[in-house]
């Protein structure tokens, strides 16, 4: 009886648990720290600039004598480039994922997956110069003679290519995880491979695919180097992808590495823009988790 009740103390397990809790605490503490510093800077900023002017203003000129802090040009720049990137990454990525998981033979998959992973490992600054020096000058100039040197289109296209491997890899994981019994069930009813992919495999892998899309969008919103190098640093309120624009991230990068005096409104604006960026990605992720839950309820 007493053997059952009073176990030996398990020191090793306590230690392991302590280490794990500490590891988890570091990441939680970092997140809280980032949020707190963003919040403090943002509150200080909003004491100088009314929130309505910040959120709805269409001029972003922090360095002018008559400084304007309307964030919409940065938001529109971010959204235009994200939209272009996602329009490239999602179809190409999903297509590659379907090919890799359902059509490619073992050998082809064994070659292509590492290639995709190499593509995902290229530093983003390299992609940025590729966009500026090759995509704009060689490809886009031929198609659109009036295109500016710094433009949203080249940044968006190249960013899409950069994100595509991630969508492909996560999508392939999700589809490969679909039990082969479901595929067999579909084929045994006289379905073709295309029908099996569209009607059985993709719906069953939907939560993983949606997660891949959400991550792709978050990644595009947060990407900094490509836009800094290829899209220019002029905040402009435009939807024309042939023009240069500044995104929220490239503003933070440029202003943060400049020589703004701490405590100035322009300096605090970095935090406000950062906070807005954080809120947008958070919203994306919450929406993504919601979507995943909803599709999980409808599907296996």
């Amino acid at each position: 009886m007493s053997d059952l009740l009073r176990g030996r103390p398990r020191h090793a397990e306590r230690v392991i648990m302590g280490v794990l809790v500490a590891a988890a605490s570091v990441s939680i503490a970092t997140t809280i720290g980032i949020m707190a510093s963003l919040l403090v800077g943002t509150i200080a900023f909003l004491r100088e600039v009314p929130i309505v002017e910040f959120l709805l203003g269409t001029q972003w000129t922090p360095l002018f004598d008559d400084a304007q802090y309307g964030v919409l040009p940065l938001v529109s720049g971010t959204l235009v480039i994200t939209a272009i990137a996602v329009a490239v990454a999602i179809p190409l990525g999903l297509g590659s994922a379907i090919y890799l998981s359902e059509y490619a033979s073992g050998t082809v998959r064994g070659i292509l997956k590492p290639v995709l992973e190499v593509l995902a490992g290229i530093p983003t600054v390299v992609f940025g110069f590729f966009a500026l020096q090759f995509v704009t000058t060689t490809l886009l100039r031929a198609a659109f003679p009036g295109i500016e040197v710094f433009n949203a289109l080249s940044a968006g296209l190249v960013m899409g290519i950069m994100i595509m491997p991630m969508v492909a890899s996560l999508g392939e994981d999700a589809m490969s995880a679909v039990p082969s019994g479901l595929r067999d069930g579909s084929y045994a009813l006289g379905a073709s491979r295309r029908q099996t992919v569209i009607r059985v495999v993709i719906p069953a892998a939907m939560s993983g695919i949606v997660a891949a899309f959400v991550l792709a969008i978050s990644r595009a919103i947060g990407e900094t180097m490509i836009v800094t190098v290829a899209a220019g640093l002029r905040p402009r309120m435009t939807l024309n992808p042939l023009e240069g624009m500044q995104t929220m991230t490239s503003y933070i990068a440029a202003a943060g590495s400049g020589d703004l005096s701490t405590g100035s409104v322009a300096y605090q604006s970095i935090f406000a823009v950062g906070f807005l960026l954080f809120a947008m990605t958070l919203l994306m992720n919450v929406a993504g988790i919601r979507l995943v839950r909803r599709t999980r309820r409808a599907l296996p």
């Binding site: 033979s105 073992g106 039990p179 019994g181 479901l182 595929r183 067999d184 069930g185 579909s186 084929y187 045994a188 009813l189 006289g190 379905a191 073709s192 029908q195 009607r199 059985v200 719906p203 069953a204 409808a298 599907l299 296996p300």
Partner: protein, 262 residues
Amino acid sequence: MVSMPEPVFLLDRLRVCYGDYQALQDVSMAIDDRRITAFIGPSGCGKSTLLRSFNRMNDLIPGARVAGSLTYRGTDIYGADVDPIEVRRRIGMVFQKPNVFGTSVYDNVTYGPRVNRMKVDLDDLVEECLVRAALWDEVKDNLRRNALALSGGQQQRLVIARCIAVRPDVILMDEPCASLDPIATTRIEDLMRTLAEDYTIVIVTHNMQQAARVSDRTAFFTVEVDDAGVRHGRLIEYGATRQMFSAPADPRTEDYISGRFG
């Protein structure tokens, strides 16, 4: 004098290999029309392999090859101009683990007719197939509910309903009761007996009583080890179930069905 019906399948020295490995040695047999044929034998003797070659499910396994001949109602199943998709529509299959799709009961049953663009009234078909699969009374109140919410035995009957919805000619069943309790098993066996009036059924089972209860003919396979130490599946004995279970011709069959082997 009763005229002998034409067999549904005729196998002549059928052999199946996975890559370099020959899983099944020359099988020659005939499968009767509108009868239940049972495949029994120890694990790894190639029962599933043989069953999957009947509807070309082996095509989906990389490296799987079939040699010899397998004719279905006079047509070579592996003929150059045969469409495997059409083969699978005529020759349905029920698997060991119930593999319902994560959609509604209704959508599960209508999946086959939809992908095959059958011109039928889907509502009528769903009712008819669920009634035949002895599942209608349990699900008729809510055909929209997710099939994964059904019990294992209900799921397996749904899979059978889904299978007969494409109006196949033959139903292949690979250990359909392996994951079911005795009550659900009895229901599936009763169902097989009624289905055998209209369909040719081939069933793989590890349950000797089940083979004895439901089947008309039984084929016993075993594993033989060749000189190089490689294991191959081989058909040992094939005959009327009653005969096989009362007076098997081969001692290996007798050992197996009396539980002295495998």
